[in-house]
């Protein structure tokens, strides 16, 4: 009876497990919320990200552009982006071909280094390869630190009208036009088949015999280790010698044949490229952070600043950006919201001072408040090893020109 009950329980568990597997949805994100809040706030500030167009067919071109600022508040316990970094794109594998990528106009086929506190304008050109719906993110792979991900944009890739297979053609320096989708495969298949046939032939020779494992084990035990080699026959010697010679000839023959067929080859290429960084356009606004408080219950970050406008134009603060979340000041409609853009709080920012006049020094309080703090797990900020915040403020002069700079400092939590 007990066994019957146990059996039913196991069956139910199995069925529930199977149902969970079958009902599970696709994994469509890239861990935007998984990283430490401090990592997202104090590493790279991504902005102006555009993915265009967002509805394409296989073979069409998609361009991803944007800017980023490397934070001067980079966590000390994390390897720095100023050492080695690679501009990448977060898509599900090679669903797109990367045709071009650049930072500040420098091609980015290789890795580079981004000094902190500078602006980098990037561009990645993709060609849709596999139909589907994808969440596309710009990504920076930082050596020994992992991936830093910008927010994603949904992209629809439809099948194209042609039934022809996808082709990716390039012309080599010797002048041959090749399709990388299938290039060299004929040789790969041929040589692999030859070697697999050789391996199987050798194994069959040794395995198809009257006395194999157990009889040979009995005989070796009887003969003892000193005489066990008597089990190896003259035929074994001859066949092994033939295989040895044939294999060696095939390896060397194949090598010299390939050398003859492809006389111009180069080693794999690597190395770092240099990128000239761009200075942050502060527009003459000097910002000192006086105090910052994170209110857990209110899901808001309150920041007190002393700001001095050294420019000759009045400035208005329009936006606070941190961890890819944009908090917009509803009083100023300058900040553009791009098509398909996520993580935007349209009225999430309040500023205690509307206009900072030229030459004026004022105390300014900015409050970035929205449920997005909770949704994107930013409340984890209070669990960080060094409680600091960082973000970008964006502001405009009277001509509508945009300026920005990074702000950051210690942050105190308010638990009640």
């Amino acid at each position: 009876m007990n066994r019957l009950i146990a059996g039913k329980t196991q069956l139910r568990t199995l069925l529930v497990g199977l149902a969970l597997v079958l009902l599970a949805g696709d994994a469509l994100a890239h861990g935007e919320r998984a990283q430490l809040a401090s990592m997202r706030m104090r590493t790279v500030h991504w902005f102006d990200t555009k993915v265009e167009p967002q509805n394409v067919k296989v073979g069409d071109i998609v361009t991803v552009t944007g800017k980023l600022v490397t934070s001067v508040w980079w966590p000390k316990h994390m390897p720095s982006i100023a050492e080695t970094v690679y501009l990448n794109i977060g898509v599900p594998g090679p669903t797109f071909l990367r045709l071009h990528s650049e930072v500040n106009g420098v091609p980015m086929m290789r890795s580079t280094a981004f000094p902190l506190g500078k602006v980098y304008e990037y561009k990645t050109v993709l060609r849709a390869r596999i139909a589907g719906r994808y969440h596309v993110h710009p990504i920076l792979n930082v050596k020994d630190a992992g991936s830093l991900v910008d927010k994603g944009t949904w992209l629809e890739v439809a099948e194209n009208d042609s039934a022809a297979p996808f082709v990716n053609e390039v012309t080599t320096l010797p002048g041959d036009t090749i399709n990388l989708e299938t290039y060299g495969l004929k040789g790969v298949f041929t040589w692999h088949l030859i070697w697999i046939a050789m391996g199987i032939a050798y194994l069959l020779y040794w395995l198809i015999r009257k006395e194999l494992f157990i009889p040979r084990f009995i005989r070796v035990r009887e003969l003892g280790q000193d005489r066990a080699n008597e089990l190896m026959t003259k035929k074994d010697f001859v066949v092994s010698s033939l295989f040895f010679t044939g294999t060696l000839a095939l390896i060397l023959g194949g090598y010299f044949w390939a050398e003859h067929k492809y006389p111009i080859t180069i080693p794999l290429q690597t190395g770092l490229v240099d990128v000239e960084p761009i200075d942050i356009p502060t527009g003459g606004l000097v910002v000192d952070v006086d105090h910052a408080t994170y209110d857990l219950a209110g899901r808001s970050l309150s920041m007190q600043f002393t700001m001095t406008n050294n420019s000759d134009s009045p400035l208005r603060i329009a936006e606070f950006l941190t961890a890819n979340i944009r908090f917009l000041n509803p009083e100023i409609n300058e900040g553009e919201i791009y098509e398909g853009e996520e993580m935007v709080s349209k009225d999430g920012l309040t500023a205690s001072v509307d206009i900072i006049q030229p030459g004026q020094t004022v105390e300014v309080e900015l409050v970035a408040s929205d449920a997005l703090w909770e949704q994107y797990r930013m409340t984890g900020l209070i669990h960080d090893p060094d409680s600091r915040f960082a973000g970008m403020i964006f502001y405009y002069d009277e001509n509508g020109e945009r300026f920005f700079q990074e702000v950051g400092g210690a942050v105190l939590p308010n638990f009640f």
């Binding site: 080695t84 690679y86 990448n88 594998g93 090679p94 669903t95 045709l99 071009h100 091609p107 086929m109 290789r110 890795s111 390869r129 990504i139 050596k143 991936s147 990716n168 390039v170 012309t171 080599t172 320096l173 090749i178 990388l180 290039y183 060299g184 495969l185 040789g187 692999h192 391996g199 050798y202 040794w206 194999l212 494992f213 157990i214 009889p215 040979r216 084990f217 009995i218 005989r219 070796v220 035990r221 080699n229 190896m232 092994s240 295989f243 060696l248 095939l250 390896i251 060397l252 194949g254 090598y255 044949w257 390939a258 050398e259 492809y262 080859t265 080693p267 794999l268 290429q269 690597t270």
Partner: protein, 264 residues
């Protein structure tokens, strides 16, 4: 407890061995042995294919997954190192017990077959990488050379020096026959790249950035830049050392059977 005889066996053990030997002339017993041999082949090969796949994936995975990882310095060192440390202990056991020089060929052939299965299902069908970018390397010929060196010399020491050395030294030449096209130069955005580099750039790997590759990083830069032959010689020496070392490990593991006897 039975008394031990001059040959170091008990009387019962001596009788048992005589019976075993006589059974080799018995057709019914031989038929049974053949069935057991079939089961041994099945179990052993299943174990080997799983074992080598996991071990090779963990120690030399990316070098075998991507054509743009197979450089002239590291891949010819990492691949034989990884394979020989798996091959050697099993070769010792099978040679010591049944005098069959087949393990290196079996392991490299099985690895090749299971790698193709993995590349086709996981890389090509599931994640859409072209096979031209992810085809596996082959080491079957090296396995044959290692086994044949043992079969011809009938000596683990000689096979270590000749077979182990060739196994390390010939990794690059055996694969060059089908790998050479991927090292043809291409000009891309004003930079020189090999076809393999270009494929690595174009076919996106989100978590395998360019800097992860270990390309030409070593101090083997003397002898007029003859990187490939120099690496081959060094890989051959490493092959000898690794193979010898893990044959010793095999002999040590093989000696553990005395404990199983006691348990039984």
């Amino acid at each position: 407890m039975s008394e031990v005889q001059a040959n170091g066996l008990t009387e019962a053990e001596t009788k048992g061995r005589a019976l075993d030997l006589r059974s080799l002339d018995n057709p019914k017993a031989m038929k049974l042995y053949r069935r057991f041999d079939g089961i041994i082949i099945l179990v052993l090969f299943m174990f080997l294919v799983l074992g080598v796949q996991i071990q090779f994936t963990l120690t030399a995975g990316d070098w075998d997954y991507w054509i743009d990882w197979r450089d002239r310095r590291w891949w010819p060192l990492v691949a034989p190192f990884s394979l020989l440390l798996f091959i050697a202990p099993f070769t010792y056991g099978i040679w010591y017990r049944v005098r069959l020089p087949i393990l290196a060929t079996a392991i490299t052939t099985l690895l090749c077959l299971v790698s193709w299965l993995s590349r086709y299902l996981n890389f090509y069908e599931f994640t859409h990488f072209p096979l031209s970018f992810t085809f596996p390397s082959t080491y079957i010929g090296l396995g044959i050379l290692l086994d044949c060196a043992l079969a011809i010399s009938r000596s683990l020491i000689v096979s270590t020096v000749i077979g182990g050395g060739l196994f390390g030294a010939l990794v690059y030449p055996i694969n060059w026959s089908f790998m050479a096209p991927y090292k043809v130069p291409v000009e891309f955005n004003g930079m020189l790249m090999s076809v393999a580099d270009l494929m690595g750039y174009q076919y996106i790997r989100t978590t395998t950035p360019e800097y992860l590759r270990i390309i030409e990083e070593s101090t083997l830069r003397t002898f007029g830049g003859s990187v490939t032959p120099l690496t081959a010689v060094f890989a051959g020496l490493c092959g000898i050392v690794i193979y010898a070392l893990f044959l010793w490990v095999g002999s040590w593991v093989n000696g553990l059977d005395k404990f199983t006897k006691r348990i039984i």
